[in-house]
Symmetry: C2
Subunit: 366 residues, 2 copies
């Protein structure tokens, strides 16, 4: 594995001291910041995540702040989701598209006020799109990146641990809703959300100076819960069908192809609507599928996407795959063409190192 | 140094096989792709670059293609440089700003036709800004990322080597001009440019399939020239005052602060013009300076920028610094406040590990 050189352009986070002390062994770069890939190993981290509780530095989920008199108007233009239905304390997972329906990002939007939203973004400078759109449209709105760095608490003991640090009212937060909760002399947005299927919270840490005090508070409070530093886990997120923008889908795909049609219900004239509505009506040409791949825990690296083949013709692409200890198969996410996407279809996958058989699954593993 | 995990989201390039075989020891991530940081060491690479010739995989300089009836109109809005003066075969280094003059990127623009430009971008998804701006402005223009990956040939023997592979007409290409030259059954844009001060060319390799054949042609032709794989070199580019967007300047800075006022001469009403013209008239509050830092070849990593201090008050930031074997000092690029930017001013730098004295220089080292 190649080493990565630190620089201001690929920077650390408010929690980097904690992450380094906890022994992160490998990283990726996401929104110009370091994101740990694993601490002990994918497998050891996975087993721990499913049984205990982890503290994740997900500062890389940068916020794009949309604030001003035209904020709601801009949100209606970019949101395939019906903004009329968004409650005051709600978080909306939201694919964002160009005018042809090509995906540009899939953030979680948080409504802070009628004229103020945060978009917690996937990898890619969505700020630049919103800024360009606002300038081109002459909208009165400020587009900026605040000093906000999410910390995720994930795992079956996440509620217990978060309640110890931020109070019992976290227990009342519903899925994809948030409360503003006190920490030291400030308040943070705390949402029941996170990029795992094990449950937990994301704390939008507003102010770098609060990063390490909060990190340490969680480790101090969680000793008897076997708390550990962790990070989004490749195996667990594939089992759960959690998509990675840039890997599992790109601007070449629509939200319908990414299996996100249910998040496209806005009555407004949002960007990409014509394509998305047509695909919802007629069906897309390809769609994200759960795939199992033959073999043991011996998959090579996948840095370009593996071709999925039917009789030597490419009928899909797999960008995410890993050995699942719980399901004893290689779990994968693939974008598969219409004629081959039925559950039970057997295909081949060219991993670069070998050709393996693969089978389209009925559903993700969790 | 932490390891980096490969994925489709942080992908390889058309030349990755060559880069790996040549033994890249460390990488950074730039525009969602891997960019080598050094092969043997910063110092060994530097000494070789200044004496021989290197082949650089700079695929990370992704192209944003701006094409269509409104392409020139869009370029005039984003360009601080006078587009009327741009010749047909010219490459324009161009800071691009938001409406307040905050820098968003500093690409090299290439004019392919009156209605077609490529912007060879620094780190950051400038495509998203242009796309948002085009959509918001209702411009008839297609914004896309073509399958184009630059390969740079740099060093004192670059002209000789490039002529051997692409023909003697490369010798007639002027600085920041280009020609279209034949390779196998296709043609590439070949410009006299590159992110070093040692001279050379950038070849805009159009089509992934031509990547390794071209790479191999250069190594085959350059054996007696001591050709090696290389990459932008931290030491050499600091000596030469070549700025890294995201490190040496960000959206918090204007082009005038970045020392790029001479590239802001457009008579058109471009984005950020009011701020830029005011700063050109009155002087900016801070500006990029060459700085020497005391000590030997013992600088710590710099992943956040080092504070520059005067009597314990912060008066600047240094994001790029390295030991220079040729000049026997630590060379650095800093953004320094007005009251402290005169050449000869002595300041302190907090590297995180220690406090060192530093001196503002009259000019960069080359």
């Amino acid at each position: 594995m190649a080493g990565i050189v630190p620089s201001r352009r690929v920077r650390g986070t408010p929690f980097s001291a904690g992450v380094q002390a906890a022994g992160a062994k490998a990283y990726t770069v996401y929104n110009h910041m370091l994101l740990p890939s694993y601490f002990e190993s994918y497998k050891a981290d996975y087993l721990h995540l499913k049984n205990y509780v982890q503290v994740w530095d997900v500062s890389v989920e940068r916020q794009v702040s949309v604030k001003g008199p035209d904020a709601a108007k801009l949100m209606r233009i970019i949101s395939p989701r019906d903004m009329n239905k968004m409650a005051k304390d709600q978080c909306y997972y939201m694919p964002i598209c160009d005018d042809n329906g090509g995906m540009l990002n899939d953030p979680v939007a948080i409504k802070l006020a009628e004229d103020h939203y945060w978009l917690s973004i996937a990898d890619g400078d969505l700020l630049q799109f919103l800024l360009g759109l606002a300038i081109g449209s002459n909208f009165e709105v400020e587009i900026s990146e605040p000093d906000v760095s999410p910390l995720a608490i994930q795992g079956p003991k996440a509620e217990e641990l978060t309640a110890r640090v931020l109070g019992d009212s976290v227990r009342d937060i519903k899925f994809f809703r948030y409360k503003k909760l006190q920490f030291l002399d400030t308040q943070f947005v705390v949402a029941r959300s996170g990029w795992s299927k094990q449950g937990g919270f994301e704390i939008y840490v507003d102010g770098t100076e609060y990063g390490m005090p909060l990190w340490e508070a969680f480790f101090e409070a969680g000793k008897d819960l076997n708390v550990r530093a962790g990070c989004p886990n490749l195996i667990e997120r594939i089992e759960g069908g959690l998509l990675s923008f840039g890997s599992d889908m790109t601007r070449q795909n629509t939200p319908v192809e990414a299996g996100l049609a249910k998040f496209c219900n806005s009555p407004d004239d949002y960007l990409g609507k014509a394509t998305i509505e047509k695909q919802k009506r007629d069906g897309p040409d390809r769609i994200v599928c759960p795939i199992s791949i033959s073999g043991d825990d011996d998959l090579p690296d996948n840095d370009t996407g593996w071709k999925v083949l039917f009789k030597n013709n490419q009928v899909g692409l797999i960008a995410s795959a890993a050995w699942s200890p719980d399901f004893q198969t290689n779990v994968a996410i693939g974008m598969i063409e219409r004629d081959h996407w039925d559950a039970g279809t057997v295909l081949n996958v060219d991993t670069g190192a070998d050709i393996r058989s693969a089978e389209v699954q009925e559903k993700f593993w969790i």
